[in-house]
């Protein structure tokens, strides 16, 4: 029997790395795409997810070597706190190319095969900021909001083929994306969260594994392990 193959972007750190570990623990063969080496993945490819040609070439190679990708999880992203008047066009464009483009590029490469095989699960990481908005992160929130629109639309388009597309909208999560002096780590903020702490990447990974393996009647759904940041 061929092993089940999962593709994870942003697999070198934070939520993506936790997803790789969670899925590997459940018997999946994992392929990680990231700018940095994804050390926990069975197979690591250095890729900028914003580049469609790099993404499609690497996914073709992964499928040739490991077999068809049954689950694609898009966690690659970056984050910056910038007041809206200071967001320059380059930063704006980069934010959209990485977050929205990263999901688009992966979906374009994996969805056709999933449709032919009549099964597959795509999970995109968005953010509570896409739902509740935030202060000085308009480009990030806009990119993540666009990911939600993409998830809902692909969900409808791919559902007849039995392919499910869902999203995860974590709250502030304890990953390298939040610097040590990030306002999201301040005790005065954390204590406003109903859960009283940041979300752990492992919890987001558990939710991702649920969406991939067990949420067989969920599509177009956004699951929010967010410590209660947005309810």
């Amino acid at each position: 029997m061929r092993e089940r193959v999962a593709l994870v972007t942003g697999a070198a750190s934070g939520i993506g790395a936790a997803m790789v570990r969670e899925l590997a623990g459940r018997g999946w063969t994992t392929a990680g795409l990231d700018l940095a080496p994804a050390e926990d993945a069975h197979h690591s490819v250095g890729v900028d997810v914003a580049d469609p040609a790099q993404v499609s070439a690497s996914i073709r190679r992964i499928e040739r070597e490991l077999g068809p990708i049954e689950a694609a999880l898009c966690a690659a992203g970056h984050y910056a706190l910038v007041p809206v008047s200071d967001i320059d066009w380059g930063e704006w464009r980069r934010m959209l190319r990485v977050h929205l483009g990263g999901v688009v590029n992966v979906c374009k490469a994996v969805a056709p095969g999933m449709v032919v095989r009549g099964e597959g699960s795509i999970v995109a990481v968005t953010s509570d900021l896409a739902i509740g908005g935030g202060h000085a992160e308009a480009h990030y929130a806009a990119a993540k909001g666009a990911v939600i629109g993409l998830v809902r639309s692909l969900a409808v388009e791919l559902a007849p083929a039995g392919v499910r597309v869902n999203g995860l909208a974590p709250g502030p999560t304890d990953t390298p994306l939040l610097s040590a002096n990030s306002p999201w780590r301040r005790p005065s903020y954390v204590q406003t969260l109903p859960a009283g702490r940041l979300t752990a990447p492992e919890e987001v990974a558990l939710a991702a594994a649920f969406l991939v393996e067990d949420a067989t009647f969920c599509t177009g759904e956004i699951l929010s392990p967010n410590a209660g940041a947005v309810i």
Binding site: V151, A159, P160, G167, E203, A207, T216, C218, G220, I222
Partner: protein
């Protein structure tokens, strides 16, 4: 392992949830209203029967005490699914029956949450999974009371998520779409069509092209009952094959 109290356990969905949680290693306490016998299922699953009308707060409190005495444990998981569904055009819906639906579906959920709360507070944690409905989000003709009650469950989930989160108690909801249970007969009778016809109507409006099995809804309940997810709280998980696509 704490005891899991499942209300509405005689129904197809409640039964599937009870089986799933038993499979996860929980001892289950099975509630349904007197006259809907769950003792055979309780015996099969190694759980206890906990009959009570959830719309009667005193009966619920007594039932919770009885469960704790019978099991020697405490209720660390509440799955509140007991529900009443009758349908009628709004103008014709008998007011007593209308309120009866609210009292069972929303009032009963409140009563159960309140009754298990002291035990969870004492132990410093717990999980509540409240069963809402797709109809609580989008509304449905001739089902005003049911829809209002299930929308109320969503607001209750969000409020309790905020209020009880700091106590280590995670409250979430599952909002199923059409599920393949005998409850479809109620919908079919109301629409004046066969069950096969109502099923095909629901299938036709669902992107995944089918309706849910009780077991896959139970899977979502089990996920929200997972103690490893303390920061998942105050959320509504829509298990509906893509009909609402995460709306609100």
């Amino acid at each position: 392992m704490p005891v899991a109290l499942v209300t509405g356990a005689a129904g197809a969905l409640g039964t599937a949830i009870a089986r799933r949680l038993t499979g996860d290693g929980h001892q289950v306490a099975l509630n349904d209203r007197p006259g809907r016998d769950v003792s055979a299922l309780a015996a099969e699953l190694g759980g206890v029967a906990a009959p009570a009308d959830v719309s009667d707060p005193a009966a619920v409190e007594a039932m919770v005490g009885d469960v704790e005495r019978q099991t020697g444990g405490y209720i660390g998981i509440l799955v509140a699914g007991a529900a009443r569904l009758t349908v009628a055009p709004f103008a014709e819906h008998d007011l007593d029956d209308w309120w009866r639906i609210i009292d069972v579906n929303l009032g009963g959920t409140f009563a159960c949450a309140q009754a298990v709360l002291p035990g969870m507070v004492e132990r410093g944690g717990g999980r509540m999974v409240l069963i809402s409905s797709e109809w609580g989000l989008i509304g449905w003709p001739d089902a005003t009371a049911y829809c209002a009650s299930k929308a109320g469950v969503i607001a209750l989930t969000k409020s309790l998520g905020r209020e009880l989160g700091p106590l280590g108690i995670a409250v979430n909801a599952v909002a199923p779409g059409a599920v393949d249970t005998p409850l479809l007969e109620v919908d079919a009778a109301a629409a004046g069509v066969s069950v096969a016809r109502i099923r095909s109507q629901y299938v036709g409006r669902t992107p995944l092209g089918r309706i849910a099995s009780p077991e896959e809804v139970a899977e979502s309940v089990a996920f929200l009952a997972d103690a490893r997810l303390p920061t998942l709280l105050g959320q509504v998980l829509h298990v509906n094959g893509g009909t609402t696509r995460a709306r609100a």
